[in-house]
Symmetry: C2
Subunit: 297 residues, 2 copies
Amino acid sequence: MIDSPHPDTPAATMTTAPFVAALRARWAMGRHLCVGLDPLSERIPATFRHGVSPGEAVLAFNRAIVEATHEHVCAYKPNAAWYEALGDEGHRALVATVAGIHEMAPGIPVLLDAKRADIGETNERYATAAFDVIGADAVTVHPWFGREALAPFLDRADKGVIVMAANSNPSAGEVQDLPIGADGEPLAVHLARQVATTWNAHGNCGVTVGATNPARMAAIRAAVGDLPLLVLGIGAQGGDIAGAMAAGRDSHGAGMIVSTSRAVIYAARPDAPASEAMATIGDAAAGLNTRLAAALA
Amino acid sequence: MIDSPHPDTPAATMTTAPFVAALRARWAMGRHLCVGLDPLSERIPATFRHGVSPGEAVLAFNRAIVEATHEHVCAYKPNAAWYEALGDEGHRALVATVAGIHEMAPGIPVLLDAKRADIGETNERYATAAFDVIGADAVTVHPWFGREALAPFLDRADKGVIVMAANSNPSAGEVQDLPIGADGEPLAVHLARQVATTWNAHGNCGVTVGATNPARMAAIRAAVGDLPLLVLGIGAQGGDIAGAMAAGRDSHGAGMIVSTSRAVIYAARPDAPASEAMATIGDAAAGLNTRLAAALA
């Protein structure tokens, strides 16, 4: 805990959480891409859907994606909503997907994008669900209830916690751009600094940034020091990769979990044979990561 | 949609959502209590736990609670975390709990306290999970991504959406008290007004308030007109019921979903026989609702 309420830069933390250490190992190998595993049943290549339930198709497709892409990524990010919408079998597919990543791609962390947050005792149950039932290495959370409420997540020094700060959706600014205090600093930047300076006692925190707003990314990077950034909004186009990577790089020229989902997982024709589909998906991940690495070189 | 960005009071909405209509019917009958169904397996009376799995015990206890309390409540509020922590069987217990409320207490709405929020297409999946898979009548959401992102919830005119504004946990003020703009209005009040004036096109929104801060409750009531308030932080003590009810009442002398969980569901001795336990729980709900109604009379 830091006494100064508004330091210019956060103090170095004493510890590095396993989640952050795993990311750094991948970044050192030039892997910056995070593949979002948010498969919509109807968009899974038909070959994975024949004769199985939606949950089984999701799991089979996810396992094939991990097989095809794990050499090119720093993390995987399943989003809980896509599994919850499938009910029981979606929950089983999520648990099996995470187990499959740990088995097929050991050392590559799994960030459960669940965007949870409640008050303390309830967050203990969410932390149990994310880390112990589902087996994730990190989880995304909302900041609305403040640091103390999130202690059940933050105190899991063995796990990572990515706090929503800036996002890339059209209405994100309605709340995140609100001007705070006398100097009118945007809420997202103010919050990101709070995370870096007072929430990160275990060195296990990160915050989100939107690639669609490099100036905001740069402001948040300046506010959080070398905290990992989860970069959202990098799409198939990738037109702003160079600007985003320049804005978000840390003092070691890395520090970003650059998330994309459909640009990779829907890269193949819906009717492509499995081997062709997975080759296309692997190539999409490799190509995107190569561009990220080049922009950071 | 209202053009004026900061009206003093929100315009009356054209429609009343079924969720809000159901609440008003209960309020008109003098029922203001909302029982939170957040059962921790180990605190369920032993009689419900003999020889069954944790999920089965939760479901049996929930059904008994509904049987014992439904005459005294305006809503039930299962919190998703407590079910998710139990994995598959927790999910099944939640679905069966909601179905049980609809069966045993028709007309009493079920508010799924899931505190979800993501970007648009992902929120479609969360809305499917909350409303269609689980069968809730309303859901709680975080505001961080703004109105447009929440459209999949807000556009479900048949369902209710309760947005986090003010909460009662110790660190809620870290974010919710932040001063916005030139006049320094607290973020929670600013956000609550946004919900009432621009998010509530279908008349299906509400916001949270913390009973521990009646002044903040009153400020939010002034900002939102007759929007339903989900009142948090009323405990077994109930010392501040009168102050909270005075601060939060709407123009009809009601308008609050006053939530409590452990003051009701853990009212009985852990080793009480089932019939005694459920009588105690029913009495706790009746007593608490009577005090709420008296404070509003």
